[in-house]
Symmetry: C2
């Protein structure tokens, strides 16, 4: 039981802001696996919502992008987000830039290295009714890596007032 | 003389990767001031090139966006960048996220706070022939803040092989 709880917590944390290898997902989570098998088309071209950095084991720097529906909702303060809104979290290894540091004359610059994984929150109030109307999916190297949407959702509940989205729009 | 050199260095560093108040630019740099008086239209909608974090006095987290010409050149490895390419550097205060940290159970999350300033590199091989074909401009609160393009350029020379752009495209 404790092991299962710990596993769920890991999945939840990975879901909110992290990267989690597929192997870390217990096989008995299959009941909540998402059926989204392909990354949303054109997500790399989407507009920027904001950026962030995670220390610790994640050790990444990340960008949060949104499709038109999501970005329009953010900019206009629309809550809840309309069906069709998709938020993408891209992340890359957080690495020092020796090149930049030389220009600055001191060690201060960190840039994006190799990509880690890509996560999406997909709004569909009916389909994902049990998880706040959001589907939670992730892809490693472009391939779907299953995750427990219920565990993801549990960690997003503290920001229910913002329709379960941690990220705020950066002007 | 030393003071002038130090000033130029500050301007150059601010130009590459930084934020620099208008008051830090010496009045005798007017000969090289840019005449770009408005931010390029729609820059906040541009596609993402990459992200970075600067420690030290800058203490920001940043996104580098590009217009269509710039992003296409990055993606297709076109060098030098064609006229009309514009690269935008947006930056925000680097702040811890208590909200995210609570979800993680540890202090590890940093997000974008208030915006600092926005800088652009604008490619026009003829107009900016003396600075590698790039114009260097910046805006504070949407208003042009003059900067010494020659000093900016001097710091970008080490990445001449990448057409003077420090930022690499993140997939």
């Amino acid at each position: 039981m404790t092991r299962i709880r710990a596993g769920l917590l890991l999945v939840a944390l990975g879901t909110i802001l992290g990267t989690l290898p597929f192997s870390a997902i217990a096989a008995d989570d299959s009941r909540s696996m998402e059926s989204v098998e392909a990354m949303p088309a054109g997500y790399r071209d989407w507009k920027l919502i904001s950026v962030a950095h995670e220390e610790g084991s994640l050790n990444d720097i990340r960008a949060i992008l949104g499709n038109e529906i999501a970005v329009n909702a953010y900019r206009n303060g629309v809550l809840p987000f309309p069906d069709g809104a998709i938020v993408a979290r891209l992340a890359w290894r957080y690495i020092p830039s020796e090149e930049n540091n030389r220009a600055f004359g001191r060690a201060q610059s960190f840039v994006a290295g190799e990509p880690t994984n890509v996560q999406f929150m997909i709004k569909d109030a009916k389909r994902y009714a049990s998880t706040g109307g959001w589907g939670f999916v992730q892809f490693n190297d472009g391939k779907p890596a299953h995750m427990d949407a219920k565990a993801c959702f549990a960690c997003h509940v503290p920001v229910k007032d913002r329709d379960f989205l941690f990220t705020r729009y950066s002007p």
